[in-house]
Amino acid sequence: MKIAVASGKGGTGKTTVSSSLVSVWESPVIALDLDVEEPNLHLFLNPEFTDKRMANMEIPKIDDALCSKCGQCGELCQFKAISLMGEVLMTFPEMCHGCGGCIAICPEGALTKDFRELGEITWGKNGKNEFLMGRLRVGEAMSPPLMRAVKEKLGEMLDASSTDVIPKDVIIDAPPGVSCPAINAVMDSDLIILVTEPTPFGFYDMKLAHEAFLPMGKPMGVVINRAGLGNSEVYDYCNEVKLEIFAEIPYDRKIAEAYANGDVISESSDEMKQIFISLADKVKEKAGSNASQGGAA
């Protein structure tokens, strides 16, 4: 099964919950960091990286000798990444979404494949678990294409372990927000955990996330971090829309200090460990009936 840890608002504790779930999960998992803009899970799990590869996007390259300046490529391109300016055909590689349309439509075969570097995919071992992350190149604007490349690697890792006695579960640390990167991170999961805090910002963004993810029809539940800090809006909303609260992590300066120290919170005290063991049990119970068994990403 695949469990996505998402939030809406940033900084509510996605990485705290993901790293702790990985730590208490009984069977081997693949810990997957899909927050490719700002990946953090490795800072807490400290995996041993064994390999990496670059992820690229296919972009067009012009052969001026073959180009007849017909301009069909520029007319098709929706992203202003290739354009006939007077008698000169120009590309704007940073704007390209890699759809391949210009290369396919060119009647002269004057466009061939070139590459833009999106970022790096890194993987390795973490005790009994495997670890996988993507890291967007600084300056690269588009994170979904790199996320797709990371998910392809996840598919390879799941295929490689398809003969395991127990199929590997996947715990996904998602990016914040509710726009395309967040949707991309949760769309293949069997269950979504929404991590929030009981504050006006936490509540507003959790509601956005809940509404954004609801049409996907996946089981969802809430983890309230810093419980006791704020007000009751999050609780009232969960009650009203029948959104189950899977767990509460108390507001405690010691927890914030442990996080600041790079600790996995479930390993910081027995009380915390119990909270995450119960959360893991709850997640397995709720995702169980809906879960896919290994296989493709």
């Binding site: 940033g10 509510t12 349309g101 800090l229």
Partner: protein, 292 residues
């Protein structure tokens, strides 16, 4: 026109709470919430007299089942895995479609429509701290970079009309499309970070992004007392890279109490956090040149 952008890399470091206080302290300014995905500043500023405009950007592919002959060309050509096929019935997953038009162009029977994509709304409002430009994308939408650029353009127009000389913007977490769109050409980027492994890691990446675009940047360490060793590492990094250190703020739940009251921390009852933050704002405003 000066444009000050508050960003963080990591989410939840306190960007919006601090920006709301700066909006209270600043003068002659337009407030701009560039977090179009999960905006929160309106929860404190309570905008009024809001004018709402639909944000339409790009197109999306929609297969017309009456015309589709199930040849599979669209499925073969889509680079985004957006075409679903189920018993010869083809459809497009709007969450995966990037609106590239390739399927529309290459469909041999013209069975794919390409309507405008409604991505959200943008707003122009009044607040007790001054005029405000903000927006809300529909869930799951992209093109947030284009919406961010549009908001900045509208904020500049509004400042021009009203004779204001500062745009104060709250940014988004991350380093991707919306952050890049919010950063280009600003006068100063203020990075709000926290002394945690993730706070430092993400601050370094967003600081590197500022360097990439040649944007002057300064740093505020929020909750600095959570881990003074990490805080010292952030300070050392800032000095090495030549970023201004605007100051440190303590970990203090007073910020949440002000948020629950829908007040900027500087409006909320007399507190030390607000005094320190006021000092930081004075320092920030001194680093940007006065507009003639």
């Amino acid at each position: 026109m000066n444009e000050i952008l508050i960003i963080s890399g990591k989410g939840g470091t306190g960007k919006t709470s601090l920006t709301a206080a700066f909006a209270h302290l600043a003068k002659n300014h337009v407030i701009c919430d560039l977090d179009v995905d999960a905006p929160d500043m309106h929860l404190i500023l309570k905008p009024e007299n809001t004018k709402s405009v639909e944000f339409i950007s790009g197109h999306e592919a929609v297969i017309n089942p009456d015309k589709c002959e199930a040849c599979g060309k669209c499925l073969e050509m889509c680079q985004y895995g957006a075409v679903n096929e189920n018993d010869d019935i083809f459809s497009i997953n709007p969450l995966k479609c990037e609106g590239c038009k390739v399927c529309v162009e290459f469909c041999p029977v013209d069975a794919i429509d390409f309507p405008d994509r409604k991505c959200g709304h943008w707003y122009s409002s009044d607040t007790r701290f001054g005029p405000m430009i903000h927006a809300q994308l529909f869930p799951g939408e992209e093109n947030s970079g284009l919406l961010v650029s549009l908001l900045r353009k509208k904020a500049k127009e509004l400042a021009g009309e009203k004779g204001l000389d500062l745009i104060l913007s709250d940014g988004t977490p991350g380093i991707g499309c919306p952050v890049i769109a919010s950063l280009s050409g600003v006068t100063l980027a203020v990075i709000v970070t926290e002394p945690t492994p993730s706070g430092r890691h993400d601050m370094e990446r967003v600081a590197e992004l500022c360097g990439h675009f040649n944007i002057p940047a300064g740093i505020i360490i929020n909750k600095y007392d959570l881990n003074e060793k990490e805080a010292a590492a952030i300070e050392a990094y800032s000095r090495k890279k030549g970023f201004t250190l605007f100051g440190n703020l303590p970990h203090d739940p007073v910020i949440t109490r002000a948020m629950i009251n829908a007040q900027a921390i500087t409006e909320y009852e007399d507190n030390d956090f607000a005094k320190q933050l006021t000092g930081i704002w004075e320092q920030i405003i001194r680093t940007v040149k006065p507009v003639k």
